[in-house]
């Protein structure tokens, strides 16, 4: 049972009563980034204050300990998503993860006329790297239509896929609408046609239990900062055989086996092959603290609580009679809406004036707006430290949202 008020004691952003516009901060932008608990901040601080060292082949104790710390985090990630530690590659985040697959796998394996299948709800980071791979290889990016409700469906993928399809990439939870995609079934369809399946877990790994072996995805990418971890650290999971057939898109120290002055070099085995240069070591340590923190609360509990918050928010916003909700039925803790007759950005500014942090815009999924038939929306997104009081404050603001110029004159 989640007790958000108790949980908030672990978070300086809450404990220190951070304000915005002179009002208590109400943070409803968790799909964008999340607050950090003490244990994560302390882990980072410990690295900088007491454990500073580089990793890889050091001859002294601090360096040896650093290598152990990195390995412990690989194991923590493996435990979180149910894979082997050597299938865990550290990246700067989801975006780098997709780029790594695009440059390192797609550009190596795709040829002219091959197809990459995406869908209309994808985030820019799961669209643009594929455009790049298509441009370089002559492959084509195609978009699988969403259902009328806005879901990714197995039927629509079946209708769109062909033997030319080499990659199917899909977000587990879309960042605007918050529907959960049937990943296991989608991956099965992809594999039946000889395509690999890439799962964007940026909006799902922080919120629910993930088992990559059960889902049978070839790659999974996610970010640390959306799960109470530091910014600048993320994970690429790849089935080991897939990682073996992936080329590094960055080279340098820490990833080569040997090289000579004739321009020849051999690379280390995965995952080290993809981790050129000094890694974000403080971030790696902080990520482990975040994973352990989330597990101590329980990802199933978190998921259940967010579903409850979502249902509560939809009910409360509907009661105002002043909101247009675009995703009332989606599962994740994301509500996408507009205040009636108010342009999204004006609405979000008004919320800011009430101390409420929501995001307006196209949420990096610019192609989705053709589907929603509105130039922009406001998005409120929750986490396990969100309270029903936060949602009440949002609903109260939405109710009075017609006076949105109050933001400038009150």
């Amino acid at each position: 049972m989640i007790d958000p008020l108790l949980i908030r004691k672990d978070f300086p952003m809450y404990r220190d009563h951070v304000e915005m516009q002179g009002k208590p901060l109400i943070w409803l932008d968790n799909a964008s980034t999340t607050f950090k608990p003490d244990c994560v901040i302390e882990a980072i601080e410990r690295y900088y204050k007491k454990e500073t060292s580089n990793s890889h082949r050091g001859d002294y104790d601090l360096c040896y300990q650093m290598d152990q710390e990195v390995m412990k985090t690989r194991k923590a990630v493996a435990n979180l998503i149910h894979c082997k530690p050597e299938e865990v590659v550290f990246t700067s985040g989801t975006t780098e993860g997709v780029n790594l697959i695009s440059f390192g796998w797609a550009m190596e394996h795709l040829k002219k006329g091959d197809e990459i299948l995406l869908n209309e709800a994808e985030h820019a980071s799961n669209v643009l790297p594929w455009y790049k791979a298509a441009k370089v290889t002559g492959a084509v990016v195609k978009f699988v239509p969403l259902t009328e409700e806005g879901r990714v469906s197995v039927e629509n993928l079946k209708a769109a896929i062909s033997n030319k399809t080499k990659i199917v990439a899909c977000a587990h939870v879309t960042n605007v609408l918050g529907y959960i995609a049937p990943i296991k079934e989608l991956a099965k369809v992809a594999h039946e046609h000889g395509a690999i399946f890439v799962m964007d877990g940026a909006q799902s790994v922080p919120h629910m239990k993930i088992d990559v072996k059960d889902l049978d995805v070839d790659f999974l990418v996610f970010s640390g900062h959306k799960m109470c971890g530091p910014t600048g650290i993320g994970v690429l999971y790849g089935k080991y055989s897939r990682l073996e057939e992936t080329q590094p898109y960055m080279s340098g120290g820490g990833m080569n086996d040997k090289f000579n002055m004739c321009g020849e070099a051999t690379f280390l085995e995965p995952p080290a092959r993809f981790e050129a240069g000094t890694q974000h070591l403080a971030g790696i340590i902080g990520l482990r603290a975040a994973i352990e923190y989330l597990q101590s609360i329980g990802l199933e509990e978190i998921n259940k609580y967010e579903e409850e918050l979502k249902a509560y928010a939809v009910k409360k916003l509907e009661e105002t009679g002043n909101a247009i909700i675009y995703n009332a039925k989606s599962e994740a803790g994301i509500v996408t809406f507009n205040i009636k007759d108010v342009f999204a950005q004006d609405g979000a500014t008004y919320l800011n004036s009430r101390g409420i942090a929501c995001r307006s815009g196209q949420h990096c999924a610019k192609i989705l707006n053709d589907f929603l038939k509105t130039p922009a929306t406001i998005r409120a997104s929750f986490y396990f430290y969100t309270t029903k009081d936060d949602i009440d404050a949002l609903a109260d603001a939405v109710k009075n949202g017609g006076n949105y110029l109050d933001a400038f004159f009150n």
């Binding site: 342009f343 950005q345 500014t349 004036s353 307006s360 196209q362 130039p375 922009a376 400038f408 004159f409």
Partner: protein, 152 residues
């Protein structure tokens, strides 16, 4: 510059809402070839507009705009169109300069800003400064480019 009408928050709201709900200059010119134009969009927001300026003998004869925009950018862009009409380039640039000073809470000459004074509180919502200036910046760049043109 004492104004004969005191600019109350209520009046400022009405000015913004009036230009937002019925902008006077929001249209695509039919004879686009006669206009200098520029496109302006921001990565930070949804605003995505084109502005159009027509001049004769160094004097603005028409100013228009079109696109997708919030209340703040709609009203502020529409108001600058009003202010530019009949102005020489240097007068226009002076007005734009004063507006920028006002937006950034620096000393400014309020005597030339007329309805644009409604945006004097923009810095209360700092994230919206680019909305209040997107059209102004676009017109400024056209006028400055025009200057280069004449000199060249």
């Amino acid at each position: 510059m004492p104004s004969s009408i005191e600019l109350t928050p209520q009046i400022m709201r009405e000015i913004i809402m009036d230009h937002y709900s019925s902008p006077r200059h929001k249209m695509t010119p039919k004879d686009a070839a006669d206009y200098s134009t520029t496109h302006s969009a921001s990565v930070n927001c949804i605003d995505d507009i084109n502005v159009y300026l027509k001049s004769k003998d160094g004097v603005v004869t028409d100013a228009l705009w079109d696109g997708t925009a919030c209340a703040i950018s709609t009203a502020s862009t529409d108001i600058i169109c009003d202010l530019l009409l009949g102005k020489k380039d240097e007068e226009a640039l002076y007005i734009i300069e004063q507006y920028h000073h006002m937006i950034h809470e620096e000393p400014y000459d309020s005597s030339v800003l007329e309805e644009a004074l409604a945006f004097m509180n923009t810095s209360k919502q700092a994230a919206r400064i680019h909305c209040a200036t997107i059209g102004w910046d676009a017109f400024e760049s056209i006028i400055k480019e025009g200057h280069c043109h004449e000199r060249g």
